[in-house]
């Protein structure tokens, strides 16, 4: 081992797997870098460690780099998203009290139907207090998009409150929250503790939402091309490894160790394989595509995804007209993805943007060298987002 040392931070969640696998299975070493992984206690801390150079790369919520470009992280340097490391992976659930109300109305936990689930949530007493791990997150965006479809107004009919994932179950138990949206395994843990029930996977709201990215500081990226390319290759290879169905058991074992999540591998396996126990009755549900690491164009940092996030943030924070979403989308570094991952066989679409929400089924599209399959890409309400418009 001779290469450059790269400190990378992560939040102890299942979707931190690409960094952990890149380190544990030796992909990093093979690419000539030494990854030193560090768990962070909160998203704010992880962002600050990255911004102030205590670490060089991080497992990060996809809206954070976009927010940095929009000026929402005042005083912090710009962060870029080198690649998408996972899509989806969140669950939406309700407290025990709310689930009892829903059950009394005959709700049968379909766990795939955003329409039925949305109507059920809209029938609950308002305002609902909904916990999410961090304000600048896909959780916030997806819940707002989903519930507003059923006439619920953020700030009036529901409030979104940031609660650290490991404290989510306790906040529900103390009746500080009526519902939550959180990355696995924390939703399943709430069910395990008989404090709530799972209503809908995030993937039912948007079937391929970019959830986590590999983030780094823009100036560090510019100054360290060799390290950046090695890091991207190692993490990409880890993502590809994680997408192989036969590797899920081993991935669950790896993540469950005390060094990383320190949780039973069985509960981790549920998210990786898309099988859930959704309530205290022990009802089992399957959901394919619950959490995706590679294939189907998942890893490619699409400019259209950055743009979608940017436009949501501009609206949410009421940013002035001179803040340009079309500039913010550039923090999704599809240019570097093309440059560094093409040589090791990653599929390269012809265009770096696509129409989001327009694919009912997996579809073949041309690439630089042939063709690739893009996964299903649908919003629950049929919304279509065309960044060209």
């Amino acid at each position: 081992m001779s290469g450059q040392q790269i400190k990378a931070g992560y939040m102890p969640l299942i979707d931190a797997a690409p960094l952990i696998v890149a380190h544990e299975l030796g992909f990093a070493e093979e690419e000539g870098i030494a990854l030193e992984l560090e768990a962070a206690p909160s998203w704010s801390t992880l962002r600050d460690l990255l911004a102030f150079g205590q670490i060089q790369a991080a497992h990060m919520l996809s809206p954070v780099p976009v927010a940095s470009s929009l000026g929402l992280l005042a005083g912090l340097p710009r962060l870029d998203a080198l690649m998408v490391t996972s899509a989806n992976g969140n669950v939406f659930g309700v407290s025990k009290e709310m689930s009892e109300r829903l059950e009394a109305d005959g709700f049968a936990y379909p766990f795939h139907d955003a329409e039925k689930a949305g109507l059920a949530i809209a029938s609950l007493p308002r305002p609902l207090r909904i916990g999410v791990p961090f304000d600048l997150s896909m959780h916030s965006e997806l819940i707002t998009l989903w519930l507003s479809n059923f006439g619920m107004v953020k700030g009036e009919d529901f409030h979104i409150m940031a609660v650290p994932p490991p404290m989510m179950a306790r906040a529900i138990e103390r009746r500080e929250l009526d519902a939550f949206c959180v990355g696995e395994p924390w939703g399943s843990i709430t069910v395990e503790r008989a404090m709530g029930a799972l209503i809908l996977p995030g993937a039912a709201i948007w079937s391929c939402a970019p959830e986590k990215v590999l983030a780094a500081r823009e100036d560090w990226i510019a100054e360290n091309p060799t390290a950046v390319s090695a890091l991207m290759r190692a993490v990409w290879r880890a993502c590809v490894w994680l997408a192989v169905p036969g590797n899920k058991t081993m991935a669950a074992e790896l993540l469950s160790s005390e060094t990383y999540l320190g949780l039973g591998s069985e509960i981790i396996d549920r998210a990786l394989s898309g099988r859930f126990i959704v309530n205290s009755n022990g009802d089992l549900r399957r959901f394919d595509g619950f959490m995706l690491f590679a294939g189907d164009g998942i890893c490619f940092p699409w400019q259209s995804q950055g743009r979608w996030i940017a436009e949501r943030l501009v609206k949410r924070f009421n940013l002035s007209a001179d803040v340009r979403p079309e500039d913010a989308q550039k923090v999704f570094r599809s240019d570097l993805y093309r440059e560094y991952l093409m040589p090791i066989g990653a599929e390269m679409p012809l265009s770096s943007a696509k129409v989001e929400g327009a694919l009912d089924a997996p579809t073949e599209v041309p690439t630089v060298s042939g063709s690739m399959i893009l996964g299903r890409n649908c919003f629950f309400n049929g919304e279509i987002f065309d960044p060209g418009q």
């Binding site: 206690p41 704010s44 600050d48 929402l72 005042a74 961090f134 404290m167 500080e176």
Partner: protein, 198 residues
């Protein structure tokens, strides 16, 4: 609002360790006649913070509840005001020092840097002390653990080889030197091997 410029700030400290909280309070008192509240309970934190309307919130970097407070800072015009302890954008050095010391501060109201600086200096110094104590404690703990493992390894050698304690230790030390390892590491592998074989 009440404009007679005094040095007094309303400061909230989020810290569940009582001694530690008191010690931070003491050091902050020296910087001015501040109104200081200590919050120990992490749940419902953002509600308490918004009720107290502090100028500054001090919280351990390692406290997961930072994310809840962050949202408060975001809620009111995030563009005009620094998010975390980014009191003054130009003072990245101080921010870095704060993070390294393990303290994070949220400035809830737009405040002048010169009013916050003494408070932050005091907080950083205090947190650095805690950081040092934590490291020392960990080092001591590790040394204790290693001592235990070495004792077990010695015991094993004494039993299997029928040698004295001194000879057992000498053997461990010699093996460590030959292999270029630490005595504690050689002892640990011996203990692991013995566990596997038994």
């Amino acid at each position: 609002m009440d404009l007679p410029a005094t040095d007094a700030l309303t400061i909230v400290i989020v810290e569940h360790d009582k001694d530690r909280a008191l010690s931070i309070v003491d050091s902050l008192r020296e910087t001015g006649p501040h109104k200081i509240h200590v919050l120990a309970e992490e749940s419902g934190l953002s509600r308490s913070v918004s009720q107290l309307k502090p100028d500054v919130v001090l919280i351990d970097v390692a406290n997961p509840s930072r994310d809840s407070i962050e949202q408060l800072a975001n809620a009111s015009s995030p563009l005009e005001r620094p998010v975390a302890f980014f009191v003054d954008r130009s003072d990245a050095q101080m921010t870095k020092a704060a993070i390294e010391a393990g303290v994070s501060a949220y400035v809830v109201d737009g405040l002048q840097m010169d009013r916050i600086k003494p408070v932050m200096d005091a907080a950083i110094a205090r947190f650095q002390m805690f950081q040092r104590m934590r490291t020392e404690l960990e080092t001591t703990k590790r040394a204790l653990e290693e001592r235990k493992v070495i004792d077990r390894a010695k015991g094993l050698l004494m039993k299997v080889r029928g040698i004295s304690e001194e000879e057992a230790y000498a053997l461990l030390r010699k093996t460590a030197m030959d292999q270029g390892k630490r005595v504690a590491d050689v002892a640990a592998s011996l203990v692991t091997a013995a566990d596997l074989l038994s």
